[in-house]
Point group: C2
Chain length 116, copies 2
Amino acid sequence: MNLLPVLEPVTDTSCCPRAGGAALGAHEAKQQALVFKALADPNRLRLLSIIKAAPTGSTCVCDLTEPLDLGQPTVSHHLKVLVEAGLLHREKRGTWAYFSLAPGALDRAASLLANL
Amino acid sequence: MNLLPVLEPVTDTSCCPRAGGAALGAHEAKQQALVFKALADPNRLRLLSIIKAAPTGSTCVCDLTEPLDLGQPTVSHHLKVLVEAGLLHREKRGTWAYFSLAPGALDRAASLLANL
């Protein structure tokens, strides 16, 4: 499940325009709330920040446990939530998984607020 | 408790710059997560959307129960969460409370994502 891509057609006015000035519908609101729920955790925000700051653009899961002082199962859970919300991209390389920001995902999440 | 104003000095680089490229700190992340937690509910997103779309800029609590098909105690709870997160402003006029978007609050919440 990848929530941000699911959101795109819903917020694309060529697809499903909202009536002028009408408030956010129940379905859209439910989808958008899932993105903010993924962001509503300090450790997930820190993971996004660390991955965003990575010089190569991607970070091995093996390098994400120490900065947060969390166990790998906990880090893996948070990363899974962020991938499912469409905020991170996961790539397997040999033994390890590498994570990068899903292109444009943070901008799209920010635009949800601008277009409320 | 008003979370967004609390966030401002923390994210103001004139106050507490982050080291170049350093990831979000634990304290900042905790504060920011509270804002996203306030946004992580479909009914709260719809309330923000309805209030944002109000022609006068503010909406009586008495006009917010019907569009969401929720009871007034539930709506009042959600509004309180949004006020405490610094997203809404509450003004008492006679019997009723009126709610308006806190100026710049949605932009500041969006900028948290840009500055992760």
